[in-house]
């Protein structure tokens, strides 16, 4: 395979459908400390036994009430009159509130204003909360809200991106990133192509829906138990709507039943409403959204409509490109500015664009406000350039993999992005080469071409797509974290940090970090809820940054205590610092050995503080948005996937037959957890691009509003042959926590290999001469239409 750079092979460690030997092997190999071992998830034993407590599983508080909200029936309308008398007298109802009853702020927009906690005279999407009730049971609350009589004056609704663009209806101003003169480069290139793609949104479908309980405290404050990725923001917004100081609100977040970005900003409204009702009734209030309400009232991954014009040479190397990404933000800004920015940042994916102009429009539509979702706009941005790769390949008659390799960022040159960050430590060429070989790409390509010749109904396709994903919040101040570590006199350790556990194994990894510092057994490190009174002013657990940020903060806290212990040992036993060692749950001081527990007791008696906070902020990052220049990302996480699919040209049905993934996670803190993240992310990414279809009708009503009509991948959709490997011996060259790399989001985008493989199968109908347009999600219906147009085009 030709590439513009030198390629070496990489070492890998694998888990696949047929074996897990590699994980087994390393379970017991590495020292006690904890980093690098496949420790089981901290809650695994409780989860399998049904003993892990989620918010809705908490014992009911004395007098607990249940909330529900009345929802808008129109996508855009003024509220003319509201008759809530039947609601107030409904069975079980104790309180009914509207925005008039909010003592403090009525706007709970997380970054920019625009999200009224309850509608303010006007509604902007179907499902928008207008009023709230507290009732004696969940069922009665839900029944009561249906009794409202609301009169609306309908206003014109904007329900498509096209309409929003025509009307310049934006939630935030457009923004452009630019390097060189793309116009001229495109014109001067040997070939030009242009195209457009519709990229669908995605429902988070965390298995545990949104839920919060608010409990009034004795001094006019509120305790909140919530399923949220951002407890500090919940704390701030609850304080603001109640008009009380932040120190009177305590937020406790033990675990989420999945988050995926959907509980970053959009867990807060339900906590705020529960708090408002609790404040009025002076009783605890739980607000749990039913699945349908959750799907209707919470934002999703932004749908996008993107287009491009590219110029390239006869080899297929890009000379210049113009890309426009248009996001459907829904009715309010929420996080859409940063999400659309990230789509723009990732419009290059792994490829050097040379002369490039990337513009992003943030369209305002009368739908629910779309929000963070694993990848945060990055995936939608990457779709355009991956489409370009396939289109160039078909145009000049080459294998798309060859075009992808040719256009990868270089090492010494061709290594500056369209936002002027230099791509350093780039290993994608090696990674792809290694994967192409381990997955037998070339031979399978041959077999598939043969299969397609002899099979009239079924066709196969294969594709390899890479991912390069920028790690850091692009909003600089969020790149900070805190932690709190205590050692008790029996040598057990307690740990709190600013991150939240949503299944990703964050608590387990951070416990491993602390265990590593003290060289003790991970099981002696206990972690409890993320609490705003333990670690304050935290950032959301998002942007794949949980371990990077909180791991470093916890390490700092642990190191502080460790240093105190060393200083104390030196003084007490008259040894040099290098004579104090932490090994195997023991502390060796000169020629004496103490168990960790013993020494903790001795240190306590010696009046050593065994508790410390830790803090971390990411170095090196900066971005000047006005100029569109800087280094928004501390480093890039990379990976690639090869997927093989089979399609039915008569029905559009398909199946993913095999997927091979190679992901660079640096020096893995916990390989099993990392592999779990990769597998889960891939399947979720595949679902986004295949069967997960959001459908709004012409009135703006979400029709796919339950899991019966919105289909996430089920067990049979996982490829029968699924092989995931990690690059080994590849510590992050930036100084991240134990030189690991973030893993939460990057592999999500590997799902693109399935989409590209579907296109490959469809393209076979034209003998690989045409590049089908395949908007996403590529449902069987869309695949069938692409097949039909391919048949028509090759007649």
């Amino acid at each position: 395979m030709r590439s513009l750079i030198d390629i070496k092979k990489l070492n890998v460690k694998a888990a696949n459908t047929n074996s897990q030997q590699s994980l087994e092997n390393e379970k017991n190999t590495i020292g006690l400390g904890g980093v690098g071992r496949s420790k089981k998830h901290e809650s695994a034993d409780k989860q399998v036994a049904g003993e892990a407590i989620y918010v809705d599983d908490r014992s009911p508080l004395r007098g607990e009430l249940y909330a529900a909200v009345g929802q808008s029936e129109h996508a855009h309308a003024n509220i003319v009159a509201m008759d809530l008398s039947k609601v107030k007298t409904a069975e079980g109802v104790l309180a009914v509130i509207t925005v008039e009853d909010v003592p403090g702020h009525t706007d709970i927009g997380p970054v920019f204003p625009g999200d009224p906690v309850l509608a303010l005279g006007k509604v902007e999407y179907i499902g928008q909360p207008i009023f709230a009730v507290a009732a004696s049971s969940y069922e009665l609350a839900r029944k009561a809200v249906k009794l409202a009589k609301i009169e609306y004056e309908e206003l014109e609704a904007v329900l498509t991106i096209k309409d929003a663009l025509a009307k310049q209806n934006f939630v935030r101003p457009p923004f452009t990133m630019k390097r060189g003169d793309s116009e001229k480069a495109i014109e001067g290139a040997e070939h030009q192509l242009s195209g457009s793609i519709v990229v669908g949104g995605q429902e988070h479908m965390y298995l545990e829906g949104q839920v919060s309980t608010a409990e009034p405290t004795e001094d006019g404050g509120m305790n909140i138990f919530t399923s949220s990725q951002h407890p500090s923001e919940v704390q701030k917004l609850v304080a603001e709507v109640l008009d009380i100081p932040l120190n009177k609100v305590l937020v406790d977040m033990r675990r989420m039943g999945g988050g995926f970005g959907g509980k970053e900003t959009q867990a807060a409204p339900w906590a705020c409403i529960a708090a408002l009702l609790a404040n009025i009734t002076k009783r605890p209030v739980k607000f749990k959204l039913s699945r349908v309400d959750d799907m209707v009232m919470t934002g999703k991954r932004h749908p996008f409509e993107n287009n491009y014009t590219v110029g390239f040479d006869s080899d297929g190397v890009i000379k210049g490109i113009k890309i426009e990404v248009n996001s459907n933000c829904g009715y309010s800004p929420d996080l859409s500015d940063a999400i659309t920015d990230r789509a723009m940042f990732h419009s290059d994916n792994a490829y050097y664009l040379d002369q490039a102009t990337v513009t992003g429009n943030r369209c305002k539509l009368n739908t629910v406000s779309h929000t963070a979702f694993r990848g945060f706009g990055g995936p939608q941005g990457m779709m355009t350039i991956e489409m370009v790769m396939d289109d160039i390949a078909r145009h000049i008659g080459k294998d798309p993999l060859e075009i992808r390799m040719l256009n990868l960022y270089g090492k010494e040159d061709r290594n500056v992005t369209h936002y002027h960050q230099k791509v350093e430590h780039n290993n994608l060429a090696e990674l792809i080469e290694t994967l192409a070989e381990s997955s037998d790409y070339q031979a399978r390509r041959q077999t598939i071409t043969e299969f397609n010749k002899s099979n009239a109904i079924l066709k196969k396709g294969i594709a390899l797509t890479p991912v390069k994903f920028g790690i850091s919040f692009t909003v600089q101040h969020l790149n900070q974290a805190g932690a709190l570590v205590h050692i008790y006199t029996d040598g057990t350790i307690h740990l709190n940090h600013g991150g939240t556990e949503m299944g990703q194994g964050l608590n387990t990894k951070i416990a491993q970090v602390v265990a590593e510092v003290f060289q003790v057994d991970v099981d002696t490190v206990a972690i409890s809820s993320a609490r705003t009174d333990k670690v304050p002013n935290t950032s959301p657990t998002a942007a794949s940054s949980g371990t990077d940020l909180n791991g470093k903060a916890a390490q700092a806290a642990a190191k502080t205590i460790k240093q105190r212990l060393i200083d104390f040992a030196c003084e007490k036993y008259q040894v040099r610092a290098d004579q104090v060692k932490f090994e195997n749950s023991h502390i060796i001081v000169g020629d004496q050995t103490f168990s960790f527990a013993e020494f903790s007791q001795i240190a306590y008696m010696g009046r050593v503080s065994l508790s410390s906070t830790g803090f971390y902020k990411t170095p090196k990052i900066h971005f000047d948005r006005a100029k569109g220049k800087g280094r928004p990302f501390f480093y890039f996480a990379t990976g690639a996937a090869v997927s093989e699919v089979i399609i039915d040209t008569l029905t559009g049905e398909y199946k993913t037959l095999r997927t091979d993934i190679l992901q660079d996670v640096g020096h893995s803190i916990n390989p099993a957890i990392d592999i779990g993240q990769i597998e889960g992310a891939f399947i979720q990414g595949m679902g986004w691009l295949t069967t997960e279809e959001l459908i709004w009708n012409e009135k703006g009503r979400l029709l796919s509003n339950n899991p019966a009509t919105y289909k996430i991948p089920a067990i049979n959709d996982a490829p029968a042959d699924f092989r995931v490997a990690l690059v080994t011996d590849a510590p992050n060259r930036e100084h991240t926590i134990y030189n690991s790399k973030a893993v939460g989001e990057p592999p999500f985008m590997l799902g693109m290999s399935v989409w590209s493989a579907l296109k490959d199968a469809i393209s076979s109908i034209s003998d690989y001469k045409q590049s089908p347009v395949l908007d996403t999600p590529a449902t069987p219906e869309r695949v069938l239409w692409a097949v039909e147009s391919m048949k028509a085009a090759s007649k």
């Binding site: 888990a15 459908t17 897990q20 998830h41 809650s43 695994a44 034993d45 989860q47 399998v48 036994a49 049904g50 892990a52 599983d57 069922e139 249906k146 988070h204 479908m205 965390y206 298995l207 545990e208 829906g209 989420m256 039943g257 999945g258 988050g259 039913s290 009239a456 299944g503 990703q504 039915d648 008569l650 029905t651 559009g652 049905e653 398909y654 199946k655 037959l657 779990g676 597998e679 889960g680 891939f682 979720q684 459908i695 339950n706 899991p707 019966a708 009509t709 289909k711 996430i712 991948p713 089920a714 067990i715 049979n716 959709d717 996982a718 029968a720 699924f722 995931v724 069987p780 219906e781």
Partner: protein, 495 residues
Amino acid sequence: MKNSTVSFLLNNDVVTLDNLDPNLTVLQYLREIQFKTGSKEGCASGDCGACTVVVADLERNNPNRLHYKSINACITFVGNLHAKQLITVEHLKEGAKLHHAQQTIVDNHGSQCGFCTPGFVMSSFALHKHNKAPTRAQVLEALAGNLCRCTGYRSIIEAAITSSEHIEEDASALHYQKTVAELTTLKKLSSPILSGNGHKYVAPKNINELAYELVSEPKSTLVAGGTDLALSVTQNLATINQLVYVGNVEELTTIEETATEIIIGSATSYSQFIETLHHYYPDLGEMIERIGSKQIRNTGTLGGNIGNASPIGDMPPALIALGASITLHLNGVERTILVEDYFVDYKQTVLQASEFIKSVQIPKPSNGQTLKIYKISKRIDDDISAVLAAFFIEINNEPQEALKVANIRMAFGGMAGIPKRAKATENIIIGKVLTKEVVEQAKTALISDFQPMSDVRASDKYRMTVAQNLIEKCYLELKFAQESNVIETRVVNYA
């Protein structure tokens, strides 16, 4: 006869329900009344499996043995538990020791957020009760009704596939005889009644009791598995005044065969009749395996599938194509009509007040007859059909006349307000030798048979195009078979 109330085993304890609203689901009962919160609510509509629990019942043909099945607690009414054992995730652990179905998930790193996990544990538990060394295919079949948004499933598959052959007996096995004895006693109780909140649930034990119940309370609502009906309660917040459960009615829960027919009681579940139908009609068996999920097939019944009169139910088109008949019962009077004639208009049937479906009669195949079924949906498993096509074809046997169609019945679901035959299309095909040209004519004729709708599952255009293409696919499959050509034609089966 004095009626008893609803009694069952909750794990090992006999519980008796009293003064409880029968609209309550098993999940609500567990979480809100028993404070057993291990079973989770992910959807309350049967789609996610987070609420999966296991129900043990005496085997029909061998009442000394227990049969374990996974069900969705969220859409099962509490009354349906009568005389059964309900096993929940909290019950599996013995002291500090995890059950095999739990430990293997831990060992394989198969839980992340853990919200789906109790459901997977219970599905795997049920599977291993009857199959200690399941194949990958059996694992997938058993777990397809459990969604996981975190793991990507590989780790869970590996956990469930781990053999339990060498594992010691678990608690439920140790209590086996006691459980059998207790259930036997409960079964002997007279027909149970549950009332609360002004609502009532009755579970007659024989057809006369049932007929009587419906005549005396014509406004009663029949409930079988409840997989359809319970949604009106959990999703539409409806309240049902009187539920009449058919699952205990002796005459409705049998599967019989005569020389020419298979007779299926309306209250038998998919899991109970799938094997028989698969034997005679492999395509039908495969299609049934794609109805809902294991949990749905364990509770959903044939009578419920016809009774809900949905235009997208999967059994009616197959039954119509096969020329099956249905027996209806009203106060001691029975009538038998073609399944085809049961459906009148969208959600309208010939069923009269107080009448119920007793059984369905399916003709056995004779020489030259083939049933082809195609279920088209967005997702392969646990998805409602966009289009379901069932073609029952009779081909003349003489080799020179191969592919000459003596008779064909073509029925479709999802193409009209009711499951319906494509009569114009049939007329094109009957009597002809199938060729590409005939197929093209048939495709054109289909346009006069149906004007399908657009909805969340598919557009009208897709429905029509696919339905037309399925005629072509059927033709190609017949042709390949006749030429002894082994060419894969379906992705669903492709491995």
